[in-house]
């Protein structure tokens, strides 16, 4: 298989993700398997590349939530097909993020978006869902040996829950083991500083950049 031909497949995967075309992604992914193209590289240079381009369009305000969600569906459709074909040695342990929406808030659009983009960026993401009590978030992070707790809220009324998570971490002696990042409509850098979070991200793409910064660009544990 020539590099050129491989690259044609990767580009096609990337474009299909960007075009929100789930069916086309599946079709190309099956052909990648059939042609014995390296699945790991097809994911990295195809699916993830497409999702990163979508994230860029989101930052540029050409794509919005519906588009990103559809791109993400397309990416996951491809991952489902390609993941079983990844070699063992290609699977290094990656940094783990526990993500959730604090109790009291049932909005999870922002959280889902961050999850998708972190997935695409190569982090291992454990999704606790929405409306999660602070203690449960901490327990999950400890049980999962998570490197990061990512919290989102869309409502001012649930911001206290973010502070609780950090307090529980401190009281249980786990604060240094995990980084806490926060985001969502009503959250600001000053709020993040006040509650002692490790970082604040104003948008989903910014959350990815924030983690890259906190971990000095390494997604591996």
């Amino acid at each position: 298989m020539s590099d050129n031909k491989e690259q044609t497949f990767f580009t096609a995967l990337s474009d299909a993700v960007l075009d929100m075309d789930e069916v086309k992604v599946e079709e190309i992914a099956h052909r990648v398997i059939k042609e014995k193209i390296d699945a790991y590289r097809a994911i990295e240079n195809g699916l993830v590349d497409g999702m990163n381009r979508a994230g860029q369009l989101f930052e540029d305000e050409e794509y919005f939530i519906p588009e990103i969600l559809l791109c993400s569906d397309a990416m996951y459709a491809g991952l489902n097909i390609l993941n079983p074909y990844i070699n063992r040695e290609q699977q290094r342990t990656r940094k783990k993020v526990v993500i959730g929406v604090v109790e009291g808030d049932t909005h999870d659009i922002g959280k889902n978006l961050v999850k998708t983009l972190l997935d695409a960026a190569g982090f291992e993401v454990v999704d606790l869902g929405r409306d999660v009590p602070p203690a449960q978030i901490v327990n999950a992070a400890i049980a999962e040996h998570a490197d990061v707790i990512a919290l989102s809220t869309l409502m001012t009324t649930t911001m206290d829950g973010m502070a609780s998570v950090i307090k529980i971490l401190q009281e249980s002696g786990h604060r240094d083991a995990v980084k806490v990042i926060v985001g969502g409509g009503p959250i600001s850098q000053s709020f993040a500083d006040r509650i002692g979070a490790d970082g604040y991200a104003p948008s989903a793409p910014a959350a990815v950049k924030l983690l890259h910064k906190l971990f000095k660009d390494s997604i591996y544990a």
Binding site: G104, T156, T157
Partner: protein, 340 residues
């Protein structure tokens, strides 16, 4: 008071007539002021007041009396409509507002269209209209504001929101059918509220922000159905306040196309600038609810005075209040506007 009632003052502002000063209100619904402090001192408590019209009226009355907000606002949640349409609701607790436990449908194609008139005779719409009827009789000088959940937010409360947002793009025909259905229910709810004595209808549509939808879909779905609802309410002879969540920058140019009598925004929006750019808009807002919860009365007073000095037409909290906000802080806000 120099002769003008709070009700007339608010209606005058909404009808673009000159008044002595800006009203200071809290619209209810997603932005209600049922703080724990008031509930504990009066014994009129949530979640019981969500279901009981007498308790709902009593709590709304107590909030008005203690905070100094110049209106009565009901209900205290944004789940009335979704519950009626079949979603499972968690009624919450004293300190935590009700929320959708499980949306009724998985996708726009699954929605079962039920008889609207039948639905309007059932559920907590009766609670809200009955409380409205009581309040409009017991507080004749104050406007009763009935807060409703906007079309997109209602639809995203009865259909899994992730699926719903995707289907706005993938399945527009069915998405429009659902939004027409939901909007018709909301119009019926508004009609009954007005008949019960509501002076103003407020709409909060937090799932329909420009940040989520982008300008194209904001125009196609949000503006369209909000305007259908607003014009229907105008047909009942009542003005409409519309609260838009989040940063409106991405849809700024579309705001003048909204037919609501006043536009309320979140704290990050510069309302003075919005007024400058679009003088025809009646602005409402936008005292940070973060300040209201964490700030000192003095700081709140300064921030409120700035809104007044900026010429914001109606002063109100910018978002949903935390139930742990103190009465002293809310009073600092209302008293500043009232010049006390």
């Amino acid at each position: 008071m120099n002769g003008i009632t709070p009700k007339n003052r608010l209606l005058d502002v909404l009808n673009k007539k000159a008044t002595d000063r800006a009203p200071v209100i809290c619209m209810g619904g997603m932005m209600n002021a049922s703080i724990v402090e008031i509930m504990n001192s009066t014994g009129f408590t949530l979640p019981a007041a969500h279901d009981n019209p007498d308790l709902m009226a009593s709590l709304a009355g107590a909030i008005q009396e203690q905070t100094g907000f110049e209106n009565l606002g009901v209900p205290f949640c944004m789940t009335v409509e979704a519950e009626l349409l079949g979603s499972r609701i968690d009624k919450g607790t004293l300190a935590c507002e009700p929320k959708i436990k499980q949306e009724a449908f998985g996708s726009v194609g699954d929605v079962i269209f039920r008889d609207i008139d039948e639905m309007l005779e059932s559920g907590r719409i009766q609670t809200v209209t009955s409380a409205t009827a009581t309040l409009s009789q017991t507080h004749k000088q104050l406007p009763v504001v009935v807060s409703m959940t906007g079309p997109i937010s209602t639809a995203a409360s009865i259909i899994n929101p992730m699926a719903f947002y995707k289907e706005l793009r993938k399945n527009p025909a069915n998405a429009h059918r659902v939004l027409e259905y939901v909007t018709e229910l909301l119009i019926g709810f508004a009609a009954r509220s007005v008949r019960a004595g509501a002076s103003v209808i407020a709409i909060g549509d937090p799932s329909a922000t420009g940040e989520i939808l982008g300008p194209v879909m904001f125009q196609e779905y949000a503006v369209r159905y909000l305007n259908i609802l607003t014009e229907a309410v105008h047909g009942f002879g009542v003005p409409v306040i519309l609260h838009i969540c989040g940063d409106i920058n991405k849809v700024r140019s579309l705001i003048p196309g909204l037919k609501a009598n006043a536009i309320s925004t979140d704290a990050m929006v510069n309302l003075q600038k919005l007024k400058e750019d679009f003088p025809e808009i009646t602005t409402m807002g936008n005292l940070s609810t973060y300040s209201l919860e964490w700030g000192s009365p003095d700081k709140i007073s300064v921030q409120t005075q700035k809104l007044v000095d900026d010429g914001i037409d109606i002063i109100s909290p910018a978002c949903g209040l935390s139930t742990s906000t103190t009465l002293a802080n809310i009073r600092a806000m209302t008293r500043t506007v009232q010049g006390e």
